[in-house]
Each structure stands twice: as C-alpha cells, then as structure tokens.
C-alpha cells in the first residue's frame, strides 16, 4: 500500500531526498575543508563521489516506482492466471460488473450530453442566459425564459458588462430546397448570434448584424452542416442557392461549422434565419419585433465581469428600460398595481455554458434520478463481486494461510486480492463500455422526435471512456476492499484451528454484504414500484377522453404562403372532405394540439354578478362537434353550433364553453351559464363573450395536470393552424388514407406536420414516465437477481459449514423443523436488517423523486409493503433450498463426515 501512497507523495519524497543529499554533500565538503583541501576542490570532490546528485535522485526514484509497478505486474499476472482456472466464477463477476458499469456509463452519457456538456463554441463558460423575474404586460409564446426582441437589441449597448448579446427562438418552418416541402427545424436568431458564440463557417459566411436590419429586401439563411451533408449531399455550389422558407424565397449565404448544432441539445436546427425575417419564419404572429416575448436572450460576459457583478450592474438599467417601455406607443392600459408589479421586475442572469434547452429542463431531473439508480446498481454489482471473492477466499483459505506462513506480508496478500478485483473491474468496464452504446440507443429512442431531431448520440467519446474507467476503478476498489481487509485480518493459526467447523469471520462479512445487497435491492425495487405506479395511474387517468380509434393530424397553411382567411377556407375544405368519407365517424378541428406540452393561455376577466379576474386559463378554439368527437360530455348548457363560427358582423354570437375545473374554481356552486368573460385583465378589457356551456375536464398540455380551460368557437377566417381529430369507423388505416387523399386534392405541396393515432400522442406525452418506469424496473429485476444469488450463496455456505452442528443437534433430539428454522432465522435476520437499512434511505431519497411521481407518495405504504413482500418472498425462496438441505441432514453422515 505504501507504494500507492508514494505515487501521490512523490513531490514530498523528492524534497526530502534533496535535503538528505544536501546534508551529505555539505558534511563531506566541510570535512574535506577541515582536512586541508581548498574549498573549490572540496566541492568538486564531494559532488564527484556522489556521482552527481541528479543521478542518485534518478536511481532512488526508480526504487520507489519500478518496484511498485513490478509488484503490480506480478499481481495482475497471477490474477489473470487464477481467473482462467475458474471461468464460471470469473464470468459471474465480470458480467455483474459489466452490467453495473455499462448501465452507469450509458446513463452518464445522457446526463453528460443533456445536462453537463458545454456548447462547442468559443469560451462557453462565459455565456449567460438573461431572463426577467416578474410579470410582463403583453403577449408571448414559446417555451421558457422568454424576452422580447428589442430587449436583446438594447442590451447589446451594455458593453461594459457584455462582449455581445444574442437572442434566438426555435421554430419549425416548411422548407423546400427545390423539391418537396418538408417541415424543418429552424432557429430564428439575431445578427449577433454567430459572432457572439464565435462559430465559424465551413462554406460562405454566417449571419451578421447587417442581415438583421428590418425591413430586409435580401433575405438570407445559413444552413447547418448536417442538413447540408444529408439533404444536399454536401454540394459545393450551395452558396447563393435559393430555398423556400414557408414559401418565401431566401438565399443560402453559408454553412455553419460541422460540430455546431445550435444552442438547444434537444432541438437541432437545419437552418438559421435572421430575426428581421421572423414574420416570414413564423407566420400568423404580428409584433414579433415589438413587445411580444418569444426569444431567449444570451450574453457573453466580459472576462473581468462575474455573474453577480453583471447582475448588479444591469439592474438599474433594466428598471429604466421597463420605465421607458411603459411610455412607448402601443403599451397597453394597465392598473396602477399591475404597473407597479411590472416595473419592479428584476433581471435574472444564469450561467449558460450548455445553452438553453427545453429538453434539459424536462429531462435533467429524471436523468439524475436514473443516474442515482445506476449508482446503486453498480454498488450492488460491487457487493456481489465482493461476496463472490469472499466465497472464493474461504475456498482459498489454505492457500492464503500457507502463503502467510511462508512469510508473505498481509499487505501483499491484501493487495493481491485488490489486484484481482481491479482486473475484474477493468474487464467488466471494457465489456460495459462495449454494451453502453446499445443501452444508450435504447434510452435515446424513448425520446420523441418531431421535426427537430435531438443532438443526442450513442457514441463513446473520451469523456465517456474516462468516466467508464473511473467507474471501473472505483468499482474495483469497492469490490476488493472487503476481501482485502478480510485477508489482512486473517491469522493462519486460527484458520488451521478452524478445521473444526465453527463459523469463520468471512461468513460474518459475507452476511453484512448480503444484508447491504438486500437494502440496495429494496431501494431499487421500491423505486421501480413507485415509477410503475405513476405510469399506471397516469395511463388509467388518461386524457379524459376515449382515445381508441381517434386519429389526429396537423397542418399549418400559413407556413405555405396562405393568408389567414385562405388558410381557414383550406382547412374547411379538407374538413368537409374528411367528414364525407365513410371511414370517418366524427371529426373536429382545434386551433391548438392537445397533449404536446404547448398551450395558448391568458388570464381572463369574468363579469357575472361582479367583475373578477382569473389566473392563466388554457384556451383553444374548436369547431362544433369537438367535444362529441372526443367523447367528452357537455355537463351543462350546450355545445357550439355552426352559427357560432360565423364572424360577428355576419351574425355570429360571441360565446365560449368552459370546463368543469374553471367553473368550479371561479363560480363555485353558482351556474356559470350566461356569465360574460374575455381574455386579458386590463382595466379596459370588455367581457362580452357569453358562457354557453360547461364541458367535462380533459387534459390539455399533458395528462398530469388538471387545468382550467376555456374554449371558443373556431370563428371563420380567424385561425390558420388546424389540428384535426377524427374518430375512425372501422380500421384507422382507412382514415389515414382518406386524410392523405383529402390533403393531396386540395394542395399537394402542403406538408403535414404530423399524422398519428391519439393513443400514440398520449404515450408520447408519457415518455419520461415510461422511461423511468422501464429502466427502474429493469434495475429492480437485475438487483433482485443479484441479491438472491448472493443470499443463496451465503446460506449454502453456512449450511455446509454447520452440517456437523446440525447433525449433532438432530442426534440430540432436535426436530427437522427446528433445523429448518435454524437456517431460516439467519436469513430472516439479514432481510430484516436490510429492510431496516433501506427504509430510511427510501425516505431520504423520496424527496428527490417526488416531482416525478403522480398520485403516489414516495413513502407510499402499499408500494413499500409490496416491494418488501416481493423481495422477502424471493429471498425466502432462495433460502429455502439450503434450509431444506439442512433439515435433511442425516446425523450419522454429518458426524462421520469429519
């Protein structure tokens, strides 16, 4: 062991050696001078006799290190030889470790890619995300951390804090590079985007501030390297080529660097469009360059400015900016209180070396949960190997005792055992690293893909190799520690005495290990139980409507150059055609797709007996028959009628349907029918929409949440995206065909955003839960297997060891059940101890997973009881075999055995 320390203490040793040699030289020189040699000559001779201090140093260093390395090599060779001799033992141990290390590496790779990996840009550590804490007055859409475009432009003036500021938003456009129109992921960016990130072009040039000056007559885009390679086969003449973005011609000016995939790991853009072109990139919205919040803002801090100082420096500027905003034309009328809250918003800066990612927000917690799970699993695998080693150690008892008697030091033998486990861990690690990409592919397949692919890859890189190596080393130490200690404590005298058959110390250690295994396993099994129950509860709950034979698809004609009225007419034509098809039982169109996490929302003003305002309500605009198509009951009032969809000036009525949750929260026991509402909470908001019905609750953004919803009729000419819901009569494939035909008939160039069964949409919306449930239950199964094997091994060993004792007991009149009990009691104690260790851990880890659960508490007694029952019954099963053997011991044989 001292040589391992030497490795780390090398510098220290080096200093000591220097002092030692200097002392020698000084003494020699002063002795020589005393004997009459002149000083210069004395120095020369002193140094000569030592053959130069550097040379001596070299040799001493060799003594420290080579010796250690040589011993290591011997140990490793010896280990390898002994493994070849016992292949089944080796296989079990290596496979245990490979499973543990492979799983940990796979999950770590996702954690690394999603959560930890910095963007491949210049000095990513200085990027910060700029966001506002507080309320905003005005519209917005998109995911998180949204700011308006002018904020980004004005923030660029803060050049004492920032080297540069960029803003961006992810979107999907219809893209045609000459042929078919296809949905493609795009990033709408400020002209500062590429310069601030420090990304270079492989072809042509990237976007600049000049490209981002509205209004722009020469619209340009930059393609991603991947898109250029896969869709355009990397043609060199791509520069200057015209592409159609939502039917608007734009010119390709360049291709970005190969490794650069935007700033969101979950949504890789195919192209970048300057924000000046946002009206073309995101049709259907006005005021994108005005007060609408829709972009994420990132800044690059100056080297001398840290996060806290930047925050402090920017706050006064932000307050002034907000103040100025209220004076701008177009600022809505608001109450004094709202104005106060608006002005007191604070700026929030967050380090963003990994960029901004919706995927990270959604997945980082589940990934850490899984990572903890794999760590526990790896720990379990180590315990398993340690248990195997101890078992083999008992078999090797005589060999080790002999070696001790022959003068091997305990340290040396302990190290030999450590070397054994290291070899295992490294082989296991290697195997695990080979297995990891398969696991990674499976994991990545759990994530849904739409137009934007994610940048996750199942590739082993150097970081991952390093991780796998570290995991192997730690596993090696963990697995070898107990056996090494055991060997260190062993005294050969006692092992010679032990022939009598009393329990040895090794058994106690093995029992401790099995107890820990049971504890670890119980944690994993309970975790699996919780996640399975969550998934089950959510699946049973469902979206609140019957999804069987329900087909949905979406189109967005405004991305193909249609104006709003044109788009609406188109959608009506398609709808008519689908409705006329025999395979359609019922159908409806909504403005917002359900169960994707997105929503259209606004706080509302209610005017009934008195005026009141609401929190955010989730809104949708639907055609008459929407609720009937989904099979949702109208619990009060009526459904929409065709007449409701007429524009106001053609005699249409302004009506709305609310859901039960909205009615319950804001009307309580009163009837909401007849009350007036409107969007927005400004003092001049005019509630003029009459509530005519109440619908049963259905899920909107996802299955977990219960939200307050308001539905408007899909008034003609007002909405352009169309999300169709069709209840199929007979086979859904027929509906798929009729949809394709209908679309082809009206506009063959119109791309379809998605076409799938709603069942599939439901399962997509539960993919995180499914991921957790699937992986945790596979962990639980593996854990159960490992600990059952461990328990069985120990109990068999104990029974073999106690055969004589049991024989004597039986001979003296003990009954067979008593012998059975003798063994079972041992196992029960271990199980009880394991459970006792696991439960507080479950309680502590519970808070960590709570947010991932639904309708079940982390300390749910039923789940815990069930998991304990599963574990204990399996464990008892494993114990019964050796216990049965104990009860059938023949006293005569047992005594003769010795």
């Amino acid at each position: 062991m001292s040589r391992i320390f030497n490795w780390f203490r090398l510098r220290n040793l080096e200093n000591e050696l220097d002092r030692e040699l200097k002392y020698h030289l000084d003494r020699r020189v002063s002795d020589l001078i005393q004997s009459g040699v002149p000083e210069a000559e004395a120095r020369r001779r002193g140094a000569y006799e030592l053959e130069g201090a550097a040379h001596v140093r070299e040799e001493v260093r060799d003594v420290w290190l080579t010796r250690w390395l040589r011993d290591c090599a011997y140990d490793l060779r010896f280990s390898a030889r002994s493994f070849v001799k016992s292949p089944s033992f080796t296989a079990t141990a290596v496979i245990s470790l490979a499973l543990g290390i492979g799983a940990t590496t796979a999950i770590y790779s996702l954690v690394d890619q999603v959560v930890l990996h910095a963007l491949p840009v210049r000095q990513p550590e200085r990027l910060v995300l700029v966001d506002s804490n507080g309320i905003w007055v005005g519209g917005g859409f998109g995911s998180y951390n949204l700011m308006p475009y002018p904020f980004c432009r004005d923030l660029q003036g803060q050049d004492k804090v920032f080297e540069g500021v960029l803003c961006r938003a992810a979107t999907t456009v219809n893209l045609s590079t000459g042929g078919e129109h296809r949905p493609a992921a795009a990033e709408v960016v400020s002209g500062s985007y590429f310069p601030v990130l420090g990304v270079t072009a492989v072809r042509g040039r990237l976007l600049t501030n000049e490209d981002d000056q509205p209004p722009k007559t020469n619209p340009v885009v930059v393609l991603s390297y991947d898109f250029w390679q896969t869709q355009l086969a990397g043609t060199p003449d791509v520069i200057g080529r015209k592409v159609l973005v939502n039917q608007n011609p734009m010119t390709v000016v360049g291709v970005a660097a190969a490794g650069f995939r935007g700033i969101d790991v979950g949504e890789v853009p195919s192209l970048w469009i300057p924000a000046a072109m946002s009206a073309q990139a995101i049709p259907g919205f006005t005021d994108l360059l005005g007060r609408t919040r829709w972009m994420q803002v990132l800044g690059r801090l100056r080297p001398e400015v840290d996060l806290a100082r930047a925050q402090a420096a920017l706050q006064p500027w932000y307050n002034a900016w907000l103040e100025e905003d209220t004076r701008k034309p177009g600022f809505p009328t608001i109450t004094a209180e709202t104005r106060q809250r608006f002005l007191s918003a604070s700026l929030k800066l967050t380090a963003a070396p990994q960029g901004h990612s919706v995927l990270r927000r959604r997945l980082s917690q589940p990934l850490w949960v899984l990572f903890t799970g794999t760590a526990v699993l790896l720990g379990l695998a180590c315990l398993n190997v340690a248990g195997l080693f101890l078992a083999r150690g008992s078999a090797r008892e005589r060999e080790l005792s002999t070696r001790l008697a022959l003068g091997a030091s305990r340290g040396r033998i302990g190290r030999q055992l450590l070397a054994d486990s290291f070899v295992f861990a490294l082989i296991g690690g290697l195997l695990g690293t080979l297995l990891a990409p398969i696991a990674m592919r499976t994991l990545i397949a759990f994530l849904p893909r739409d137009a934007a692919p994610n940048a996750l890859q199942s590739v082993i890189d150097t970081r991952l190799l390093l991780f796998a190596f570290l995991a192997s080393v730690i596993a090696g130490i963990a697995a070898g520690f107990a056996p090494a200690i055991q060997a260190g404590r062993r005294s050969f005298n006692s092992s010679l005495r032990e022939r009598g058959g009393t329990a040895s110390g090794g058994v106690r250690l093995r029992k401790i290990i099995v107890t820990l295994q049971i504890a670890f396993t119980l944690i994993l099994v309970i975790g699996a139980g919780l996640f399975i129950r969550t998934l089950k509860e959510l699946t049973i709950k469902g979206p609140g409507f019957d999804t069987s034979s329900l087909v949905s698809f979406g189109i967005n004609p405004s991305r193909s150059g249609y104006s709003k009225p044109e788009a609406d007419r188109l959608i009506r034509r398609i709808h008519d055609e689908i409705r006329a098809n025999r395979s359609t039982q019922a159908s409806a169109v909504a403005n917002v797709q359900l169960l994707t996490g997105g929503s259209w929302n606004n706080p509302m003003t209610i005017q009934s007996t008195e005026r009141s305002i609401t929190e955010l309500a989730h809104l949708n605009a639907v055609t008459p028959g929407f609720f009937a198509t989904l099979g949702t009951r109208i619990v009060a009032g009526r459904d929409f009628e065709e007449q409701d969809t007429l524009p106001e000036k053609e005699g249409g009525r302004r009506v709305a349907i609310i859901n039960e949750a909205f009615a319950k929260r804001y009307f309580g026991e009163r009837s909401p029918l007849g009350a007036l509402i409107c969007q927005g909470t400004a003092p001049d908001a005019r509630p003029d929409i009459e509530i005519v019905g109440v619908a049963a609750n259905i899920s909107y953004r996802g299955i977990r949440e219960q939200s307050e919803q308001v539905y408007f009729p899909r008034v003609q000419g007002e909405y352009s995206p169309g999300h169709f819901y069709i209840r199929a009569q007979g086979r859904p494939e027929a509906v798929f065909q009729s949809i394709r035909t209908a679309l082809h008939n009206v506009d063959p160039a119109l791309p379809i955003s998605y076409l799938r069964m709603v069942d599939e949409q439901v399962s997509r919306s539960l993919n995180t839960e499914r991921l957790l449930a699937a992986i945790s239950s596979s962990f639980g199964t593996v854990a159960l297997l490992l600990s059952v094997v461990g328990l069985y091994g120990v109990m068999s060993f104990v029974v073999t060891q106690r055969t004589r004792e049991i024989g004597i007991r039986l001979a003296l009149g003990a009954t067979r059940p008593a012998a059975l009990w003798l063994v079972l009691r041992d196992a029960l104690v271990m199980m009880a101890a394991g459970v006792a260790i696991a439960l507080p851990c479950v309680w502590a880890l519970g808070r960590f997973v709570e947010s991932q659960l639904y309708d079940v508490k982390p300390t749910d007694p039923v789940t815990i009881a069930a998991a304990t029952l599963v574990l204990c019954s399996t464990a008892l099963g494993a114990t019964l075999i050796p216990a049965h053997r104990a009860s059938t011991v023949s006293p005569i044989d047992a005594l003769r055995f010795e």
Partner: protein, 113 residues
Amino acid sequence: MSSSRFPIPQGTLDMLILQILSLEPAHGYGIAQRLEQISKSVVQVNQGSLYPALHRLEQKGWLKSGWKQAETGREAKFYSLTRSGLRQLRTEKDSWARLTGAVQLIFDEGSAR
C-alpha cells in the same frame, strides 16, 4: 575511478548497511563514513549507490527513517533497523557464512589436488 581496491560484490552493500545500522541509528553521511572505515582501502564503496540502497531497504521494511538533529546541530535523516531488518541481517550473515564456507571448501578441494 581507477583504484587498486576492488568493487564491492553485488548484494553485499545491503548487508553492510544493515550491519552498520544494527549497532546504532545513523544518517546517510555517517553510514558512508563507517563504510569508508570498514572497507579500509580494500573494498571500494560507490557513494552514489548508497542512497538508492537505503531507500530500497526502507521500501522492503527493513529500515525506518526519521528526521533528527545530527551532531552538527542540523536536521538529518537518520536510519535505523526494524525488527524484520534485524532478522534479515541474521539470515544474510548466515547465508554469507555458508556461501563463503562453501566457496572456501571448493577452493580447498581444488588446491588439494
């Protein structure tokens, strides 16, 4: 280094060091001086190989070391024999005696002929 003294045989340096330290703990320079005296111009000890040997013996657990004030008042690294070092010395002396005895026997036999 041309000298009439012949170089110390391989492996004997360790034994000599152990022998010196069995009398009392000493620092490197002290050991070097004692070696000088012992060798009495007959055996040549290369001072450069002294320190590697000391560290090797310490690694084997036969010596232990510590910093103490030397006779000059300065701190020096003193080496002393451990129990296993003492055992080792005994074994080595033993085998040395056997070896030289055996060699002598062979020589005697040779000259008797």
